[in-house]
Symmetry: C2
Subunit: 122 residues, 2 copies
DNA sequence: CCGAATCCGTGACGATACTG
DNA sequence: CAGTATCGTCACGGATTCGG
C-alpha cells in the first residue's frame, strides 16, 4: 500500500532510471554532501566543491531543484545573494550519497593498488 | 594506522575523486547491483541491464576490473564463455549502490511531481 | 562584485560491421 | 558468444563574457 513495487531502474523505459541518472553523478554527489551541512550560497558552494565550474554548478543545482531535492532562495540585495538548501526529500538522499563518497575515500588505497596491478600486467 | 583520514573527494586533486567519478555513474550502479545477485556472463549481464550497448558494457566492466571491483573469468570453450563477479572489494560497494538505485525507485513519484510543478510555473 | 548565459572543444554513448 | 573497431552524434563540461 505504501507504494508501487513496479519501479525498476533496470528497465530501460522506467522513469526511475532518469532519476538514477541524475543522482548517480559525481557532481550531484558532492553538491548534496556539502549541502548536507546546511544552507549555502552559490559562491561558498563553488568554493566547497573544488574545481567545479560555474556553469556546471548552476546546471546541477537547476536539475536538483527541478527534481525537488534542492530549494533556491533569491535575495534581491546588492551584491545579489542566492542560497541553496536541501529539501526534505533531498535530505533523504544525503545519507546514500554520503555513504558513496565515504566509500571512495575509505577504499581509494585498495583501488589504487588494483590499478597499479592491472596496469603492470600484460 | 588503520588508514589515512586525509582523503577528501571535495579536494580536486585528491585521488579519491577519481574513484567517486567511476562509482557515481548510472551504468556502474546498475552493473554492480545486478552482479550483486551472483556471477553472470557477458550476454546475461547485457540482458539484465536493459538498453546498455555492448561497447559501454565492455568499457564499464573493464574499468571496474581495473579498480579491483570486478573479477573476469575466461573459459576457453566453443562458443567462448566469459563470466563476471564482484570481488570482495566490489561487494562492499554493492550496498551503497543498491541503496542509491532503491532511492531512485522509491522516490520517483515525488520526483515526477516536483518536475511537473517546476515545469508548470514560469 | 556575484550569479548566470554563451561559445565551443572533448568525451560519452549508440549503431554497425567485423574478428577470434 | 564475446568482444574489438570505426564512425557519427550529442550532451557534458570548461573558459569566457554578460548582467544586475
Amino acid at each position: 500500500m505504501p507504494q508501487q513495487p513496479d519501479w525498476n531502474v533496470l528497465v530501460s523505459t522506467c522513469p526511475s532510471r532518469t532519476s538514477l541518472a541524475r543522482i548517480a553523478n559525481k557532481w550531484t554527489a558532492m553538491v548534496v554532501v556539502v549541502l548536507g551541512r546546511g544552507t549555502l550560497r552559490f559562491g561558498d558552494l563553488r568554493t566547497a566543491v573544488e574545481g567545479i565550474s560555474g556553469k556546471v554548478l548552476t546546471e546541477t543545482l537547476r536539475d536538483l531543484e527541478r527534481d525537488g531535492l534542492v530549494a533556491r532562495h533569491v535575495y534581491a540585495e546588492m551584491p545579489p545573494r542566492v542560497e541553496y538548501e536541501l529539501t526534505t526529500l533531498g535530505r533523504t538522499l544525503h545519507t546514500p550519497l554520503l555513504a558513496l563518497s565515504r566509500w571512495a575515500e575509505e577504499h581509494i588505497a585498495e583501488v589504487l593498488e588494483a590499478r597499479d596491478a592491472y596496469d603492470a600486467r600484460d
